[in-house]
């Protein structure tokens, strides 16, 4: 089973290279500045699995540095959209292009719903996974420590993941995703399994780091309130298309229970729930 997935992965890699033709000379990581988000453009992107159409003829432009939330019912294709943008799947049709002001090919990182930490690696080593294989151990460790301090886990660098709480583990996963200073961060329902208070804290932390670093963020979520609280723009995906594309014109920092956000949330929920019998 492993062998087959390995070769499938090779295909995906080449597909990524095709989709992102820009692979110029890479300056050292440390010289990268904040505000280097990656813009994403999808043209006529379709994806089907075994004849079942998940996404059809999607046209979408996400400007560099924007925080986009993608909401929709289960199975509407929102996770597939994320996997296509990350290059984990190749589109059946259409093109995905990336533009970045930096010379190097943009890094794209993902935060999964589960932390997916290596249980046998200490917290700092788990974060260093995000830096890839190049570079000295000491330099990687130093950068991992800096990011861990940023997510408030400076005390836990030497811990095993098993000794952390769910929220702390997800913060380690966030640090791992951010340590390479990605141009794009994909968030695949990363807060779904956390309790309500921890979730609100994590939302604030992700928002704060996003504002400081300026990467492009794409958040896939079931939680319309979370989308409204965090995003610049909300895409409602339905039947493989973008059914609604809404701007969130509420200044940051946003307050929970803001009437404008609540109105927006209501509008999206009305849209998602109309003409459908309760599940």
């Amino acid at each position: 089973m492993l062998a087959t997935t390995l070769s499938a992965h090779e295909d995906v890699k080449t597909a990524v290279r095709r989709a992102a033709p820009r692979a110029g000379a890479a300056p050292p990581e440390a010289t990268r500045q904040a505000g280097e988000g990656v813009g994403v453009t999808l043209r006529g992107v379709s994806k089907s699995f075994d004849g079942h159409v998940v996404l059809s003829g999607l046209d979408l432009h996400i400007p560099a540095g924007q925080f986009v939330a993608v909401v929709g019912r289960s199975g509407c294709g929102k996770s597939t959209l994320l996997r296509l943008i990350l290059g984990l799947e190749a589109p059946s049709d259409g093109r995905i292009a990336f533009e970045s002001r930096a010379q190097r090919s943009p890094t794209k990182r993902i935060m999964f719903q589960e932390p997916r930490l290596l249980p046998w690696a200490r917290v700092v080593d788990n974060v260093a996974v995000g830096l890839g294989e190049a570079g000295s151990r000491a330099a990687k460790r130093e950068r991992a420590l800096a990011v861990l301090a940023e997510v408030g886990l400076a005390e836990k660098v030497g811990n095993w993941p098993a000794t952390l709480s769910g929220g702390q583990r997800q913060r380690v996963a966030l640090a791992r995703a951010l340590v390479s200073r990605p141009g794009l961060l994909a968030l695949d329902e990363p807060l779904g399994a956390l309790d309500a208070l921890t979730r609100i804290e994590m939302q604030a932390m992700i928002e704060r780091i996003w504002r400081a670093q300026g990467f492009t963020a794409i958040l896939v979520t079931h939680d319309v309130a979370e989308a409204a609280a965090m995003a610049d723009r909300i895409l409602v995906v339905e039947d493989g298309r973008v059914a609604l594309d809404l701007k969130v014109d509420v200044p940051r920092p946003r307050r929970h229970g803001d009437p404008d956000l609540a109105a927006l949330e209501g509008r999206i929920l009305d849209h998602l729930l109309r003409d459908r019998p309760p599940a």
Binding site: A3, R109, L118, P161
Partner: protein
């Protein structure tokens, strides 16, 4: 002080039952409840042990048996580990060999003794062959199972974060398979002693099993019991060794932290 005491009692508790059995046994023998012709008193066994140790016979036989066990274990264990890795990582290798191995696995390896004696006589090869075969299967099956049960989400994470196949194996697959490999190791160590003793009892001219069989012919029941006690000690030593290894290699796993 109280903590040292409770620590000490925690370490001693497992030995209470063996000590009680030993005392009861000694009392029964001294009181003449059991005939020492069939069951010697612990003191007789200790005396036999001292005598055998003095003459050097015990050390020679122990050394021979240990060397056989270790060599057979290394041969069978490394082949089992290698094939387990290969079949866990490669579909082709698994298709090619797994059915054959599963068929051979169902043959009790000790049933091969007559054949092995025909092939190798009662030389070293016979014992090494049997130990290697006995050790092979638990290590093979558990390594294969370990690799299969590595969390696919972690493998996907490794790929997304750009790990090469080599790094993925070293940092994700092998450590993930390790707890299961250790289970195989424990089984294999038990089978290793069992096989060796049976092989030495049936056909050998040296080793612990041979020492016990020799003693039986001369009705030296204290030496027979001595050999059995030594097996118990060796089994315990092998188990303790795997625990030490587990504690250092699997320290990340809460299930192994406080054994």
């Amino acid at each position: 002080m109280a903590r040292t005491l409770s620590h000490l009692s925690a370490r001693l508790t497992p030995w209470l039952v063996p000590a009680a059995i030993l005392l009861g046994w000694q009392a029964a023998a001294s009181a003449g409840l059991v005939s020492t012709r069939f069951m010697p008193a612990p003191t007789d066994v200790i005396a036999a042990g001292i005598a055998a140790a003095r003459s050097g016979e015990l050390w020679t036989n122990l050394g021979v048996s240990f060397l056989r066990a270790a060599t057979g274990f290394l041969i069978g264990g490394s082949i089992g580990f290698g094939l387990g890795l290969a079949n866990g990582l490669s579909r082709l290798s698994e298709r090619l060999t797994d059915t054959t191995l599963q068929m051979i696995r169902n043959i009790p390896h000790l049933s091969l003794i007559p054949l092995v004696i025909l092939w190798f006589g009662i030389d070293e090869e016979a014992k090494l062959f049997l130990v290697a075969i006995g050790v092979f299967f638990p290590i093979y099956a558990n390594t294969l199972h370990g690799i299969r049960s590595v969390d696919p989400q972690l493998i996907e994470m490794g790929r997304v974060y750009g790990m090469s196949s080599g790094t993925l194996f070293r940092r994700v697959i092998l450590p993930g398979a390790l707890p299961s490999v250790f289970v195989g190791l424990r089984y294999a160590l038990g089978i290793m002693w069992l096989t060796l003793i049976v092989a030495e009892t049936i056909s050998a001219s040296s080793g612990l099993g041979y020492m016990a069989m020799q003693a039986r012919e001369f009705m030296l029941v204290d030496v027979v019991v001595l050999a059995i006690v030594i097996y118990a000690g060796l089994g315990k030593a092998a188990d303790a060794l795997t625990r030490v290894l587990e504690r250092s290699f699997l320290a990340w796993n809460p299930a192994y932290r406080n054994i």
